[in-house]
Symmetry: C2
Amino acid sequence: MDVLVPFAAVEPKTRLSTVLEGDERAAFARAMLADVCEAVADAGATPTVLSTAPIESPHAVVVDDRQLTAAVDARLEPPAAVVMADLPLATPAALGRLFEADADVVLAPGIGGGTNAIVSRDPAFHVDYHGASIRDHRRNARAVDASLETVDSFRLAVDVDEPADLAEVLLHGGGRAREWLEDAGFAVRETDGRVVARRD
Amino acid sequence: MDVLVPFAAVEPKTRLSTVLEGDERAAFARAMLADVCEAVADAGATPTVLSTAPIESPHAVVVDDRQLTAAVDARLEPPAAVVMADLPLATPAALGRLFEADADVVLAPGIGGGTNAIVSRDPAFHVDYHGASIRDHRRNARAVDASLETVDSFRLAVDVDEPADLAEVLLHGGGRAREWLEDAGFAVRETDGRVVARRD
């Protein structure tokens, strides 16, 4: 399975700016990208980084500075998959469930309405990453009479966009992204509600 | 499989107080409880509501006003499960994966370090719902040499505690909880980041 891994190379992860400096966000985003590409490869698939600017990577890289939807749609040649670069909890097992699900379109929802991973086996299916994209992707699949399956995975649902998400990496991650956070001094702290990741 | 469903009957869901009045929180919490118990029963298991105060329910109810950990630990007689009452995305399929996982202790993590569901087949295993409970439960399982499996499920990971979680119910729920929110006027609204649930 060919897998596109879209990556925002310039000023990534701006919603983490309250807890990470610009160069830290860049390094952390690269650590997550490396984890995701490795998990994809370990699941027996072939990752290609679809980057908004040239980057160094042990994996294939194609550069397209357009918006996410246009860049992905231009290169998604079914059968193929799209897996976001900010899923540091993704494991080969979770990705295997995605790749092996038997439908024309397979979706893995993200927290907050996003679509964190897609398999498309139907050339008529198009992506649309704006807003509550999981609803749009369901609709787009139905509109072209594609069979649809949803992968129920916490590991694929957790994309790291906001400070609260860093706790998930510390609790459930195992790769470079977790190591980067620990090296940067982050640890899990308890609160009255959900735990958070903080550094002193 | 016998399944305890712990339910806070008095002043439930206080972290939703910025968006729901007290009587609304009570009604919404009951809708979620009904959804969870029905999903448990549809998965072929037998739910017992473990409530902090007497409530009406079509399912068995036992009352224990102690803290969650003490109340659950007193009644968890392996093989048995604990499934939280605020998981309105839980489906029979997701719960089936939990119940059928082959280990002495099976854990379903919640967002933010919680443990949303547990299967225990080892009488030596004890629960501890304080703080980052997923870590404590892993540790407790290891401490008694119980085999451990983790169920990777978005539907079991989403517990509804905070206003942001309501969007997940509207996007992915299918039962009374979603209907209750829609009847109360909530709808999905797009933002610069994750979508939210709002009423006008």
